[in-house]
Amino acid sequence: MSLTLEQVKRIAHLARIEISDDEALTTQGHLNGIFQLIEQMQAVDTAGVEPMAHAQDVYQRLRDDAVTEADRRCAYQSVAPETEAGLYLVPKVIE
């Protein structure tokens, strides 16, 4: 398998990473090298093998539906690029 330049640009868009034509070309080369390595997996018959998502066989814990955290909005917003009146500022979403 090898990725086309078009596909590289498409996944860069999906990942919301701006990519120039030059970068896309270099990236295509690197990704195809990596996928060559990954392709070794395709030769393995894994029929009937349960996918392993996690190292431990544990379930999501449940907790009481109670407030456990103090309000630290000011501290958390102090590291934001732009805020106003307690809100995060972003470019207009709906024209």
Partner: protein, 489 residues
């Protein structure tokens, strides 16, 4: 003083032979002198460190027989810059977080500093978002190996490894997703432990691949690692995969004799692909273990050659999801010029992430995308199961598995930087351990051309105590772990 063990430092502090302020100053002065060459630390804040040291001195002074200070109170250590520490810049080696001053503490930070009374000497350099095996992907420049400054220290915990090896800190923390504690420990002549997945809390540890990431200690000896690990572990309800199990004392079992220990040698780790002299050092270490009463048995990990391919699907898939949080809205970098919201995301992420991080995000986005999910992501998870099952089978006939940590000694800066695949293969012996979720260690076992070699120990689930015991007994019989580079001699 700089080469003393944590136990000796603790004794000196308890006996008031030295104060924590004096001890911390000694290491801060070394950092000031040697860090410009090594680039091991990205953030040092003398005032903050000394304030912590003064607190520790007060705790030691107030201690009494009935209420003793903690066993490590007042000892300074270095923190990998992946752990959020309140009031400290926490960069994760990235431009994306270059100005991020954390508003909260990771659980590991809270436990080690607030609870155990350790002093932080600062934050250590690392591969960007822990993605790398050489520390060359850091936005803050590469770290240099104290054994040969033209070579890499390994990665991603390369700053921690270089700092401890050059004795800029008595010990440090690291994190290990595919080998990031063990490989730099091997390349810098340190003892490093990646615990069983779920033993050390991931809360406040910036996520790379959440089903693989695990924090652990990096130090000069197994005894030092055991002491540090005691301060790091424990159930944490803020980490959804933290394991609720009884707390162990990892120091207690260190001295146990090794008579009857069965060492499994996977034939796949002793074939081609490893430097011959590295292999000779590993075999000599195993011969030493036989002298200590252990026996060896051949085992097989038939799917281990698939660990690198499966890892480079699973880890990037998880990373692409985890790193979607860096969008220039709530924290971190935002591009200075942009049009609409989508453009702001795309420019922020293009400018904020380095090349290796972008590559992994793209791989992840691809293997998770419609039409490729089954062929890549699910197939990788099935192979992960086969790899984990191999270990279950192997541990039926042995207590601990041994082999090389890294296929070579430290390589030159720039040697593998242009070829991602060559770089990925430097973790060929360590990655399977993360996929299975097992504990693993690297222990100094010799030198090739003046460069350190690491012996890897792999244990069964929750066998950290046993691994530390096995490493400690070896270190009682050998002195490889006591060798220091010229700058720390």
């Amino acid at each position: 003083m700089i080469n003393k063990s944590l136990k000796e430092l603790a004794q000196a502090l308890a006996a008031k032979q030295i104060s924590s302020v004096e001890l911390s100053t000694l290491f801060l002065d070394r950092i000031e002198r040697l860090n410009p060459t090594l680039n091991a630390f990205v953030t040092v804040d003398r005032e903050k460190s000394l304030a912590m040291a003064r607190d520790a001195d007060a705790r030691i002074a107030a201690a009494s027989g009935a209420k003793p200070a903690g066993p490590l109170t007042g000892i300074p250590i270095a923190q990998k810059d992946i752990f959020c520490a309140e009031g400290w810049t926490t960069t994760c080696g990235s431009k994306m977080l270059a100005n991020f001053v954390s508003p909260y503490d990771a659980t590991v930070i809270e436990k080690m500093h607030r609870d155990a009374g350790l002093v932080s000497l600062g934050k250590t350099n690392m591969d960007e978002f822990a993605m790398g095996s050489s520390n060359e992907t850091s936005f803050f420049g590469p770290v240099r190996n104290p054994w040969d400054t033209s070579r890499v220290p390994g990665g991603s915990s390369g700053g921690s490894a270089a700092a401890v090896a050059a004795r800029l800190a008595p010990a440090a923390t690291g994190t290990d997703t595919g080998g990031s504690i063990r490989q730099p420990a091997a390349l810098c002549n340190l003892t490093g432990l990646k615990p069983t997945y779920g033993v050390v809390s991931r809360y406040g540890m910036i996520a790379f691949a959440s089903s693989l990431d695990q924090g652990g200690p990096m130090a000069a000896s197994a005894e030092d690692c055991a002491l540090l690990l005691n301060t790091m572990v424990g159930f944490d309800e803020r980490d959804s995969t933290s394991l609720d199990r009884p707390v162990e004392d990892y120091v207690r079992g260190l001295e146990k004799p090794l008579n009857g220990l069965r060492i499994g040698l996977p034939k796949e780790f002793f074939g081609e692909g490893c430097d011959a002299e590295v292999m000779a050092a590993v075999r000599a270490a195993i011969a030493e273990y036989e002298k200590l009463g252990a026996s060896t048995v051949e085992v097989s990990l038939p799917n281990s050659h698939l660990s690198v391919p499966a890892y480079y699907v699973i880890a990037p898939a998880e990373a692409s999801s985890n790193l979607s949080r860096f969008d220039g809205v709530r924290y971190g970098y935002r591009a200075p010029d942009y049009g609409n919201l989508d453009d702001m995301y795309a420019k922020t992420r293009a400018q904020g992430f380095g090349a290796e991080v972008k590559r992994r995000i793209l791989i992840g986005a691809y293997v998770l995308s419609h039409g490729y999910y089954d062929a890549y992501y699910l197939q990788a998870q099935r192979i992960r199961r086969l790899i984990a099952n191999d270990f279950v089978e192997a541990f039926k006939s042995c207590d601990v598995i041994m082999g090389p940590t890294s296929p070579s000694t430290a390589f030159k800066l720039g040697e593998k930087a242009a070829d991602p695949v060559q770089m990925y293969l430097s973790d060929i012996y360590t990655i399977a351990v993360n996929l299975a979720g097992l504990p693993g260690m690297s222990v100094p076992c010799g030198f090739v051309g003046g460069l350190p070699v690491g012996l890897q120990l792999i244990g069964n689930y929750f066998a950290e105590g046993q691994l530390l015991n096995v490493a400690h007994r070896y270190q009682q019989a050998t002195d490889w772990h006591l060798r220091r580079p010229a700058s720390a001699a």
